[in-house]
Symmetry: C2
Subunit: 479 residues, 2 copies
Amino acid sequence: MDIPPIPPQGRTAGLMQFVRRRIAAREWPPGARLPSLRGMALQHGVSKSTVVEAYDRLAAEGIIRARAGAGFYVAGPLAPLALAEIGPRLDRQIDPLWVSRQSLDIGAQALKPGCGWLPDDWMPRDAIRRALRQVARDPDAPLTDYAPALGLPALRSLIARHLGTRGPAVDPRRILLTDSGTQAVDLLCRFLIQPGDAVLVDDPCYFNFLALLRAHRARIIGVPHEPDGPDMDRFEAALRTHRPRLYLSNAGPHNPTGARLSAIKARRIQALARVHDLILIEDDLFGDLEAGPYARLADEEGGDRVAQVGSFSKTLSASLRCGYLIAREDWLDALADLRTATTFSGAGLTQAVIVRLLQDGAWQQHTRLLRQRLALAMPRAIGLLDALGLRPWHEPDTGMFLWCRLPEGIDGARLARAGLQQGLMLAPGNVFSQTRTAGGMMRFNVSQMDDPSLPGRLAALIRNCPRDTPPTLSSEKSP
Amino acid sequence: MDIPPIPPQGRTAGLMQFVRRRIAAREWPPGARLPSLRGMALQHGVSKSTVVEAYDRLAAEGIIRARAGAGFYVAGPLAPLALAEIGPRLDRQIDPLWVSRQSLDIGAQALKPGCGWLPDDWMPRDAIRRALRQVARDPDAPLTDYAPALGLPALRSLIARHLGTRGPAVDPRRILLTDSGTQAVDLLCRFLIQPGDAVLVDDPCYFNFLALLRAHRARIIGVPHEPDGPDMDRFEAALRTHRPRLYLSNAGPHNPTGARLSAIKARRIQALARVHDLILIEDDLFGDLEAGPYARLADEEGGDRVAQVGSFSKTLSASLRCGYLIAREDWLDALADLRTATTFSGAGLTQAVIVRLLQDGAWQQHTRLLRQRLALAMPRAIGLLDALGLRPWHEPDTGMFLWCRLPEGIDGARLARAGLQQGLMLAPGNVFSQTRTAGGMMRFNVSQMDDPSLPGRLAALIRNCPRDTPPTLSSEKSP
């Protein structure tokens, strides 16, 4: 172990620095017990009282905490914790939850080219109203009972059938309904990892993966993403260096980049997973928006190593909360138990409404229409942004996301903050990046860019945004 | 540290036993790193190869697991885990999830005197149909959007107002809507505890508390429950011995005992919480069924130390999933972040339906009617069970639960298993007991005992059940 020399300004300060580095590097994960006072004193050649002082000061800072009679521990999500405090302290406005908070709570008048969903008027509002009335009339509707542990069998069958139309057949017995795609990922993480386990994600990736994995106190390892999937050299190196238990990614049009996994990389990842005992979680919630059949980790080749997640939030409604996971059949009982223990049962009534919506033939027609609208919106958005000096990192053939490089010297977080003051919700690159190397990038949602005032407002925002030379990537200070 | 002598049958076996005991006693919680090979060898005066063999064998048993190059760890909920495996291995049919599984998945024809909810025809089915139609018609209904992070403001206000009618005023800013009462408890546990922390529960308590706390890998400490609340001597002793972070309990009619917390004990618990830095979680989901204003931990005296949880599952619908938590205002942002990270947003449409139901004046009338029906059902059930030789531990003045002692020599788990074969869902005592000392008890739901065939079927079941002399409490074997 390399012990950094204790700086001259004081042994206590040196020891504190030593502890801080170990924690920041996740060598000592949240919840880990710190070395004993005696052990630490011996190791660093200082007196026990110096160690006591260093630990006490770190405890006062909230970085570690004492348990009476049981030593000191790395502070966990605890006592009480803010999620933003797990991992290095972040500027609250560019932490991974920034986009969620803004987009969930910003007023209805705001323009939201940074949000992660389709406009309200693209969604099947009339069909939802009709389905609600149908369920209200149905004498057998599950109005008051708890739902079965795995979810309504009718919906599990419909999901299996639906997925079969765009990929390999799925056995409904492998499907567990949840209250959201996020909850499905959360359940799988609860099942598969424990604090301190390494998890691979794409860099950039869906920001909420970062928040979720922090809540699990995982060690998050970002692998640079390319237009056809992860950088495979770095992926393989990360497997060897960090021995991760999971790789958590998006299928179909990738969030935030719009990248599309190639079949070659899919095969390679599946093969590596077998060799390195890696479990793959493929969040497929944009699958119904893809232009053609894309490569998937969750196919016959992936087999038991892949768990697939989906939901209806992006195509039907984000207010009818319902997601699902598809995993090894012999995992399902344990996953259902874990789900019962932590949320009891699913939303039977919501599931019944979704059954009505999927049974309706209009559903296939609706998703086809969404794909057509997105295919038109994408080049339009590329043109609009190009005129403002924003260049796409990659031009996706569909999906809602466009990942753009900002003009030289513009910092995404600063721009997003300014935008918010003017009723413009933007998604700055660094909320998607575990390594915080995407300060010059921004995610746009091409379906949310129709407002005629948007180009002018964006142009003014960029014009008035102070520039750095050279551009900073992650030089944010707390406001 | 007391090191037991290594038995003569082999040093490896002795070491294995030593490790097993430490794990069983939770001195080494799940996820903890085991002592190094060298350290262990030194401590026990054995060779390193003996330690290697012991660890390897324990790893093969799944009790510990190796991480390449990083030593051995106590196995967590992992790889893949069954929840039933956290903590001592249990007979699957009397583990804490047994009742959930049976009651969620048993057929509609079965009689369910063991289940935890009111009969379908006691629930406001017509009002729910009406509310669904109203929402379907409402031009402003939240049909497709994500809900605000804390939930619909209208529902938070209605909940605050409703709680104010039966207890002290609640500030809506302290309310976070969740997808269920269970999810609210889960969120609070995620926020407040980490693996290995001690949590006090009542013995017996709601079985799902045990399953939930296992999922959090907490050290569960049961305190014997009395008709007016916990045994205070044991409660205080547990505070001193185990230094728990939380006490998780039910308010109002207690589940499963129907006990009613006295004001004296409530004050005493609040005072102890201040002294011992204990957080209290009060799950109040039966509050609308109580006969009069009961004592609460969550009142002015409890202050910031108490988080309160509730839901509408027991009085409106368990299919409209919605619960809430009420906690310190300065915790709410962090709790909402944690909720966003792990399930994204709440069910806006469900929340809107519940707003309609609570706005309706019929709601107060409905709960009054439920209380009247329960007040009639309780003595009727006591009489019915008395005729079969089952004696109530306590006669509650309301609520749905009756906690009964079975006739001498009858084991609850055995009786429940036999019942299941005959379409009778029973709730055996030990699923509610952390110490598994309730083998001779059973929980009955007085609202589910109207079927005229029930007395005869129960009588036959008891008559045909083999008896132990003396009665066994927890002598179950796996089937």
